[in-house]
Symmetry: C2
Subunit: 467 residues, 2 copies
């Protein structure tokens, strides 16, 4: 039996490893267009920031380890250009062209950074962050600028904080995870950061109250945040010189464009595999596509939402790992569902942390047949008398009639537990728990960790009383 | 309508406040034997440690506020000495004796520190930590010893850490929350701490793997932990001079006895109210006792366990607050169940944190009809490449046949999220979730907070594979 995998990141390598481990007789072939496999793309902003020293640190398992220890036929530098589902072959191009037969196939081609309709994206100094190569380029830019800055300002370094700015102004287009994490990475390297967000708030999939807290914090950190700022052009000559919006022209020396990702579906479409309404590859509970023996998992594919049951496209690392692993088990003869997603996400933004899960958007909730109601509370992160605490802001969205918890969004100082506390809300959303039930949860309490009622309980209790 | 409350701490004041708020016409009378009400006894170790400056800081609402702002007839310094359920009166002694009629009565008399069968408990220098007064005494002892130490060793203070010890040796009897928190408080004040635990591990309600991690950490912190150490005597003259066990005699200048608490049930028993098998006051889902119109909540009462449905006595702050509040709602005409408990608890021990929930003990699980299996994993608390992470150790106990999660226990460095991550396991235990379901939870992930699979997911996945 031959199991072929297209794409060697989280979903692909999880599937390959699990299939090989559970059914060692299976021949497992992985084609990866680039040179890197199984890498933590989520760590790139911290590499660019300078907190992680080497790109290699982001790699959990090396190509050699996959080949030698896990006995996987991993072919890096091989781009698959066609799938023939009738002949059950894929065609890949590396140093030469290879036609590989398969019994079972996994498409895990991931997602690519969206190129928004902005003039000047091709100018030098304009970056996206979609790959390890992008990360490398950005780190080089940051290091170079820093060195040059040091030369011009010999007393930079510790003294640097007293200057208006050490490195030139830079632009970040997009106020999602990547935009915010990159704003942190650039500001930490003494760039003057201008962030442009088309919509009226940052982190639009989080609650408005969370967005507001993150916005306030970014501004405290001297990030110039421009909301409702549609970027018309990245102006300049060969090199970018300014971000142009309705509101005017902001001179910059570099721009990071982080306006989301879109699933890589060309190969699947070429093979006649159906896409879903979201534009990502449609798949059943076992991650099998419209064509038998062809699976899809990870950022290129849809998943079912745990509240609505509807297909959604939420390209995040855990789902890719989980669904990839489930496909590996299925291939090995143990049919395993990938499981639904709750759209849970977390982000660190300078010294705050935030998480969200489930359905917060009222329109989405109404479309799914709910009558949504949302409440937000601010609560102390530790007992009021305990030293060094902060504030946890918790938003919950629930169904007015039944009280069912539909989604949640939390924000706190970094280390004060907004993200880990969201675990309670993920469970509530997944199990269809009501506000009354949640507010009766016997959550852990001690003064160094929360008030007697954890903020999650207080939020549930208050919204239950108000709905 | 008159609602009388006996005992003015968490359960009593929650009930009084909620009843008065929801039904302002109710006359609410609270008798409290001491002078303090609504205080955070959980904060006492941190007051003794010196991190909290005043006992007043532990009080969330003052007696004056209860009287003036909440219109509650709060009578401190009044000890109730009898309940007459036929005449529906209670007799209280303060400056004079009062006979108070009631329509509804709440017994929230709390729990008292257990006095173990050890000779010499009455010697000077032997303390328990059951009340604000105890906390005051201990703080005075610690401050005084410190001052005397300073006089003897003029270079103590910062230099103190280079000395073998600054203050004399002290003993802590008991290796539960109080014993461990007090060991931290005393060690932080430069006492040489000797901890004596009768059983073979600390924190016996947590998993063995958690106990082991906490033990290792306490020893790293130079606490002399003696396991299997049955204390026979606290020897000395007027003042305690040594802790005596089978293994010998340890000279000490002071001893803190923290060997648990027992429910204060004398009043209830005197009135003919039934106790449960645990020895605490039995109550139904609405917290009503065997006598109509008499309720019991907080540390003096039983509660139903969320997994077994059996009555248990788990005297902790959240349950007291929650059940007190439910009684207040019921009194106000909105019958409200108190809700079950999961036996969830959290503790900080020096620089580690730990939490536990549900059923971990195999005998208890078997008695409830389960076939328990337990697994423990160690996992990184943040992405491997992210700076400054630690280790989260997760233990899960589940039913072998069904895979149902019965309980969990976690430990990590302080700030690395063992306690807040336990929220996921509280939900799983409460909702009867299986290991397979839990391991498919879409928990929040980003590199500063966890590995792609949060340690809780990994623990569930591994145990599900091994059972």
């Amino acid at each position: 039996m031959t199991f072929v995998v297209i794409g060697g990141d989280a979903a692909g390598m999880s599937a390959a490893s699990k299939a090989k481990r559970d059914a060692p007789d299976t021949e497992v072939v992985v084609f990866e267009a680039g040179e890197w496999v199984s890498y933590g793309a989520c760590g790139l902003p911290y590499y660019i920031k300078g907190e992680i020293q080497s790109l290699d640190d982001l790699v959990s398992v090396t190509p050699e380890e996959f080949r030698e220890q896990r006995d996987i036929d991993l072919r890096t530098g091989h781009e698959v250009v066609a799938i023939d589902p009738d002949g059950k072959t894929v065609t890949a191009r590396g140093e030469s062209e290879v036609v590989q037969e398969y019994d079972q196939l996994l498409i895990s081609t991931g997602a690519a950074a969206v190129e928004p309709p902005i003039d000047g994206l091709d100018r030098d100094g304009v970056y996206t962050l979609g790959s390890m190569a992008d990360g490398k380029d950005l780190r080089e830019y940051v290091s170079r600028a820093r060195t040059e800055g040091d030369l011009q300002q010999p007393d930079s370094g510790p003294a640097c904080e007293f200057l208006e700015t050490c490195n030139g102004p830079v632009g970040v287009v997009g106020g999602g995870y990547i935009g915010i994490e990159m704003a942190e990475a650039l500001a930490a390297n003494d760039f003057e950061v201008h962030l442009f967000q088309r919509g009226d708030r940052l982190l639009k999939s989080f609650s408005e109250a969370t967005s507001e807290a993150v916005l306030d914090h970014l501004r405290e950190q001297d990030v110039a945040v421009n909301l409702g700022a549609e970027v018309a052009e990245l102006a300049g000559g060969d090199r970018v010189e300014a971000v142009v919006t309705d509101a005017g022209r902001t001179p910059v020396e570099m721009v990071l464009v982080g306006t989301g990702v879109s699933p890589r579906t060309d190969l699947a479409e070429g093979a006649g595999i159906e896409l879903g309404e979201t534009g990502a590859i449609a798949a059943d509970e076992y991650r099998e596509t419209s064509i038998s023996d062809v699976y899809a998992a990870g950022d290129c594919a849809e998943a079912d939402h745990v509240v609505t049951g509807d297909p959604v496209h939420v390209p995040l690392a855990l789902t890719a790992n989980r669904h990839g692993r489930a496909v590996g088990q299925t291939i090995a003869g143990n049919p395993t569902k990938g499981g639904p997603v709750a759209g849970t996400a977390a982000v660190k933004a300078f010294d705050v942390e935030a998480a969200r899960t489930g359905i917060l958007d009222h329109e989405t909730a109404r479309d799914a047949g709910f009558d949504p109601v949302t409440g937000t509370i601010d609560a102390k992160s530790r007992a009021g008398y305990y030293p060094e605490g902060g504030t946890v802001r918790v938003t919950i969205t629930a169904d007015r009639e039944s009280g069912r918890v539909l989604g949640g969004s939390l924000v706190s100082e970094y280390g004060e537990g907004a993200v880990h506390r969201s675990h309670a809300l993920v469970g509530a959303v997944t199990e269809g728990v009501t506000l009354a039930e949640l507010s009766n949860y016997d959550l852990a309490y001690a003064p160094p960790f929360n008030t007697t009622w954890d903020p999650v309980l207080t939020a549930a209790k208050v919204l239950d009383g108000d709905r």
